[in-house]
């Protein structure tokens, strides 16, 4: 059995860990609230961009086929995989589930004789991919817990360039969608070619009743022309999609870290209880031993 002193040092160190993890939980909770507000702030803008793109797509008519970012290419030989991870760990399965989903997609592609082209945001994703010997076409770090719109614009710009140059034929994004502070879901979406179906589909258009929509069709002036404007709107739509993924990932990161730190705090508490019990037993044993020695000593004197 460990000596009292040893056990006492271990209890002290677990108490320190408990304090640190509890503080980290509180910090993550505060950051999570801000991240949630930023998601809510983006929503009206993102919805409006989608509505405008949809309207321009409708009025551009057959010209829509000539917008390169909307054109599906066959065969899709090279597929870009953009992983959205965090700069820091200590967040449970947050980073590993993204890397796992990415490598799974890559092996599916390789089984079909296709090639994965890697892009990653967040130090964790970048270093896991480098460790696995994958070449990165784009690595973006230093902003994952507080992404700015310009970060999304940079990533979108590079992916769009790669798509237009023919370096990739399709681009997929894998990120942790924010469901609730306790739940993050690894989600995969196609960024490029921007899905014409998602843009032109009439579903999910709750705030635009049918009659109003048909009345509006084709009677707007365009500056520049509808197809020209669509060419500008689609890249913007891609930027906004990436920005939304970055914001959701940031909120998910704080949520995951909060949960991870809470269970770490609970575990530390349990260990402290166990060790305290052990220490009391050790002390009791020592006292019993001393009493026995005193009694034995006294017995020998009689």
């Amino acid at each position: 059995m460990a000596s009292q002193r040893e056990v006492r040092t271990r209890i002290a160190s677990f108490k320190n860990i408990e304090k640190i993890t509890r503080a980290m939980e509180a910090v993550s909770a505060a950051r999570l609230r801000r991240a949630e507000q930023r998601i809510a702030a983006l929503r009206p803008y993102a919805d409006a961009v989608r509505r405008m793109t949809r309207q321009a797509a409708r009025d551009a008519g057959s010209e829509i086929k000539r917008v390169p970012l909307l054109a599906t290419r066959e065969p899709q030989q090279r597929v870009a995989i953009l992983l959205i991870t965090a700069d820091r760990g200590l967040a449970g399965a947050f980073n590993s589930q993204i890397v796992r989903a990415g490598t799974q997609l890559a092996s599916e592609l390789e089984a079909q004789q296709r090639e994965a082209v890697w892009y990653a945001s967040g130090r964790r994703g970048v270093s896991s991919l480098t460790f696995r010997g994958r070449d990165l076409s784009g690595a973006y770090t230093g902003f994952t817990d507080r992404p700015a719109y310009t970060d999304a614009r940079q990533i979108a710009g590079e992916l769009i360039t790669a798509f237009l140059d023919g370096a990739v034929d399709r681009a997929e994004i894998i990120y942790n969608a924010y469901i609730s502070p306790l739940t993050q879901r690894a989600t995969r979406e196609t960024l490029l070619p921007a899905s014409a179906a998602a843009l032109t589909g009439a579903d999910r258009d709750e705030d635009e009743p049918g009659e109003e929509r048909s009345a509006r069709r084709g009677n707007a002036e365009y500056e520049p022309e509808a197809d020209e404007l669509l060419r500008e709107l689609v890249p913007h739509y891609v930027e906004v999609s990436i920005y939304r993924a970055l914001l959701e990932s940031a909120a998910s990161e704080h949520g995951a870290r909060m949960t991870a730190m809470r269970s770490a705090t609970e575990n530390a508490g349990e260990l402290i209880d166990d060790l305290t019990l052990e220490m009391n037993r050790a002390r009791q044993a020592e006292i019993t031993q001393e009493i026995l020695e005193v009694v034995a000593g006294a017995g020998s004197l009689v």
């Binding site: 930023r38 702030a41 983006l42 009206p44 803008y45 993102a46 409006a48 961009v49 405008m52 309207q55 321009a56 719109y149 614009r153 710009g157 769009i160 360039t161 237009l164 109003e212 509006r216 009677n219 707007a220 002036e221 365009y222 500056e223 520049p224 509808a226 404007l229 500008e232 709107l233 913007h236 906004v240 920005y243």
Partner: protein, 137 residues
């Protein structure tokens, strides 16, 4: 004479900037300056960096520095989507001049017609437009 009012909403990815009844909005599209009054014909336009003026009334004018964006006027509602908006007082001349220099050299370094060149040109136009707003105010 007081003008008829209409709804005007200015949104950025960071959130809502303005949402109120206004008499007139003046901004710049790819084709040039445009002023929107109530009952303007439906329009969908690409916006260029410029000084955005929102006239709540003749004497109550909100002036903002707008980056690139899009505008939609329909059903007597003006909706402006802007990548970035700042108060004119918040613009920093030194910072804008540095951004202009950086964009200038980036656009010279980038191959002609490339995506980088387009991006650098856009940065350059934004910095120049914001500097012009500062010069005018």
């Amino acid at each position: 004479m007081a003008h008829t009012k209409f709804a005007c909403e200015v949104l950025t990815p960071e959130g809502e900037v303005f949402n109120d009844e206004v008499e007139m909005v003046s901004t710049r599209t790819t084709l040039g300056l445009i002023a929107i009054l109530a009952n303007h014909a439906p329009v969908l336009a690409r916006l260029e960096p410029t000084e955005l003026r929102i006239y709540r009334s003749e004497n109550d004018i909100l002036r903002l520095a707008q980056a690139e964006g899009f505008m939609q006027m329909s059903d007597n509602r003006a909706l402006l989507l802007l990548e970035q908006v700042s108060e004119i007082d918040a613009l920093d001349r030194g910072e804008l001049e540095r951004a202009r220099e950086a964009a200038q050299s980036a656009s010279e370094a980038a191959p002609e017609g490339s995506e980088e060149a387009t991006r650098a040109t856009r940065e350059l136009r934004r910095a120049e437009a914001f500097l012009r707003i500062l010069d005018a105010s």
